[in-house]
Amino acid sequence: MLTLLGVATVVVGFAVRLNPLLVVTLAAFVTGLAAGLSPVEVLEAFGKAFNENRFVSAAYLVLPVIGVVERAGLQERARSLIARFRGVSVGPFLIGYLAFRQLTSALGLTSIAGHAQSIRPMVAPMAEGAVEMRTGRPLDPETRQDTRAMASATDNIGLFFGEDIFIAIGSILLMVGFLATSGIVIDPIHLSLWAIPTALIAFVLHAGRLILFDRRLRRRAGA
């Protein structure tokens, strides 16, 4: 039971908003010590696992080019481009992005978009531009933050509920492997197919929320 203290450390540490890097380090020590490891053994295990997971941080290699295009005015261009399409409102715009993200992820192209390479430089400014065009004035900070957060949320939802339709994605391979060791042989295509109902419901649910979000922003602007 003591090993669960590490989980408690994470929950409390995140809840009181301590620096997460410290919280995670502390939780590693609490868990490891509770499991009977010595402090040095915990440090070694933690360091080893950190080193093995470097690929997680390698994705920041896209930041230099994003910075360069921002320097040259991409965010401003994205904002004014959307303003030229007078009919486009933020709701339908993000619904379109959701559909794009789900469909491309379902084809296995999960890394062609993301928060660094598409949301920050293009999608969020376009969404902000779409709101600005409706209201005819610069966004207040609250609306700006809401719009950006919604753009990021839409990317995650599109990715998560698209990628499992692709048969060679990590989660499908994990399921096939796990079931195989338990004596159940399954064709990955069946796992992919049964991801489709949830994907459709995710699309409908989030699209509905985006329409409500759009209306709320309009009411806020009118008030």
């Binding site: 039971m1 669960l4 590490g6 989980v7 994470v10 995140f14 301590l18 620096n19 997460p20 890097l21 410290l22 939780a27 590693a28 868990t31 490891g32 499991a35 490891l37 915990v42 440090l43 070694e44 295990a45 360091g47 080893k48 696992a49 950190f50 080193n51 470097r54 690929f55 390698a58 920041y60 290699l61 230099p64 080019v65 994003i66 910075g67 360069v68 295009v69 320097r71 040259a72 005015g73 261009r77 062609i112 928060h115 920050r120 933050q145 950006r148 957060a149 990021s152 949320a153 499992d164 994990l174 159940i184 796992l191 992919s192 109902p197 949830t198 419901i201 995710a202 649910l205 929320r209």
Partner: protein, 317 residues
């Protein structure tokens, strides 16, 4: 065969440049904190395999210490002003999208064309890492396209990259740290323990209860562990296989697939899935680090309930 080590060398050199440029940035009162932080990241990429486990552990302590004691500032590299950007946006027009769209095009080419390529039976790209290799290749090509097409100063990718990296700050390393914590959890058997608690304390005689416990358990466990991949083996070994599949005769494909997607609903609701939930908040400069999660919960919860219903209806046809 091109392996991940090539990407690590590239990342190590880029972070080394961030560190050096940080150290010379007199506009940042904490410039040496930033230099040390990105310097340690660079060291990890370049020499992580030679530092030994203890050395890597000490490196992680250094990163956590710099971040935890507030020694990390935000660099102020010289960049264009908002007015200049407006003027540049007018001048370049739609050309501005070309470097940004080079990224997805090259990644797609890498995954679809380069990945299957073989020379004398040896694949060009390490098949397990083809996506990340393609992303790194795309990043390099896109920088080249950006510099030439938009005539930006040669140092700008490193300075602008550092500006964005400082915007993300310590949150950048959180996903990797959490992955390492997951390894410690696995070592200590945290997953099995939680799974046992769930199965010991909740009666699952009715089919609907069992389905609900499995789906909600996948989501809840993912919230605690930050990763549906960690939750899946535990919950499926504890409930999915013995109860849903063996006792009630559920279709394994439906149980596993919808179970995993229930876990993904949990991913949308946890700060421990930092790369999806906290890094974007930092990258978009949102003052509330939980802003993205808050926008996801109202989609995630109904979707989780929908998964329970779907599994109940579809698994026992």
């Amino acid at each position: 065969m091109i392996k991940l080590t090539a990407v690590y060398v590239l990342a190590g050199l880029v972070f080394a440049a961030f560190a050096i440029l940080s150290a010379t940035d007199r506009n940042n009162g904490k410039r040496f904190g930033n230099a040390a932080f990105w310097g340690l990241v660079s060291l990890s990429f370049l020499a992580g395999d030679r530092l030994g486990d203890l050395g890597n552990g000490i490196l992680v302590l250094g990163l956590a210490g710099i971040a935890g004691f507030g020694l990390l500032g935000r660099g102020q590299p010289a960049t264009t002003s908002p007015q200049e950007r407006k003027a540049l946006a007018e001048r370049f027009g739609e050309k501005l999208f070309v470097p940004a769209l080079t990224l997805p095009v090259v990644v797609a080419l890498g995954v679809l064309v380069l990945k299957p390529l073989q020379f004398g039976g040896v694949p060009l790209l390490d098949p397990k890492q083809a996506t990340l290799l393609s992303l790194a290749l795309a990043a390099v090509i896109a920088v080249g396209v950006g510099l030439i097409l938009l005539r930006q100063p040669p140092i700008s990718p490193l300075q602008e990259g550092r500006r964005l990296m400082d915007t993300v700050g310590w949150a950048a390393l959180l996903p990797q740290m959490l992955a390492a914590l997951g390894a410690i959890f696995a070592l200590a058997g945290v997953g099995e323990l939680v799974g046992k608690l769930v199965t010991d304390w909740i009666p699952m005689d009715a089919r609907l209860t069992a389905v609900a416990v499995y789906c909600l358990g996948m989501a809840g466990f993912t919230i605690i562990m930050g990763n549906a991949f960690a939750a899946f083996p535990v919950m499926t070994a504890g409930i999915g296989l013995p109860i849903l599949i063996h006792r009630f005769g559920g279709d394994p494909a439906v149980v596993a697939s919808i179970g995993m997607l229930s876990g993904f609903c949990g991913t949308l609701m946890t700060p421990l899935a930092a790369n999806f939930n906290l890094v974007p908040a930092a990258l978009l400069e949102l003052p509330d680090r939980y802003a993205v999660i808050k926008k996801q919960i109202p989609t995630a919860l109904p979707l989780l309930i929908a998964n329970v219903v779907l599994m109940y209806v579809l698994a026992f046809r």
